[in-house]
């Protein structure tokens, strides 16, 4: 994996030993199994994450009690090579209600061989989140989100 240092985006990529279509399907249909578990914005455990496979579709988590938390909107859906969705999550890991302050995520799937796919992910326009620090500092003090993340990292890095 490599990380871009551009100030307003994060880029990472990985190569998986599966066919292109398979990679696309796993990423879009099994997102709840691959995203780090600590970022659940529901009050209950996530039963499923749903990526509605159409432009204008919603990206949301559904809790075991049926509650839902929408945190993204599908901007591009081009199977099996590309998806783009918004990231309506503030730096405090809360739902961003002002959609002008949302960033976006593009995922590109590139066939390198019959059974090998490179997946490139770019999370860009992070500057749209604006005064993220204010919320982040509050989150630190409230012992939410950010410290949890750091704690997890510290444990993993030990």
């Amino acid at each position: 994996m490599s990380i871009d240092t551009a100030a307003t985006s994060v880029r990472t990529e990985i190569v998986v030993e599966v066919p292109l279509e398979r990679a696309f399907t796993v990423f879009t249909e099994r997102f709840d199994h691959i995203k780090p578990r600590e970022h659940n914005m529901l009050a209950v455990e996530i039963a499923q994450s749903v990526f509605e496979p159409t432009v204008g579709g919603r990206v949301y988590d559904r809790g075991v009690d049926g509650s839902e938390c929408q945190w993204g909107r599908v901007l591009a859906y081009e199977p099996p090579t590309r998806i783009v969705f918004t990231w309506d999550i503030s730096p405090r890991w809360q739902i961003e209600t002002d959609l002008a302050r949302a960033s976006e995520v593009e995922v590109r799937f590139i066939a390198e061989a019959e059974r090998r796919t490179r997946v490139e992910l770019e999370h860009r326009h992070l500057d749209r989140h604006g005064e993220g620090w204010e919320g982040l500092a509050a989150g630190v003090r409230a012992d939410q989100g950010w410290p949890l993340y750091l704690q997890r990292f510290a444990e993993a890095a030990r």
Binding site: T8, E17, V18
Partner: protein, 98 residues
């Protein structure tokens, strides 16, 4: 060092929390931490290099503030989030493709 690595250290996390509350100089920080002033300075340098804090001269003193944009901190979080997501993705995809 990126923001995430810079914050892997508990002393630096505490320093960042302290300067996020209000700007402080090295002496003030050292008084609140179980480490020496030179150690605090070293931590501050790393935080500064990672873009998480910046410093400015006020009279004869140098004070440190949290970076108000916080972009570096946000990037550090998301960097970790997506890297972990892709690692999980690879494991799941290859396991289910067996």
């Amino acid at each position: 060092m990126d923001g995430w690595s810079a914050l892997a250290d508990p002393t630096r996390r505490t320093i960042l929390e302290l300067v996020a509350v209000r700007p402080r100089n090295v002496r003030e920080l050292a008084e609140r931490l179980p480490v020496s002033r030179p150690a605090v300075s070293q931590h501050l340098k790393l935080l500064k290099d990672a873009g998480l804090v910046f410093d400015e001269a006020v009279g004869t003193r140098r004070i440190y503030r949290a970076n108000p944009a916080g972009l570096a901190a946000l990037r550090a979080q998301l960097d970790r989030f997506w890297s972990q997501t892709l690692v999980n993705f690879k494991q799941l995809a290859e396991q289910e493709d067996q």
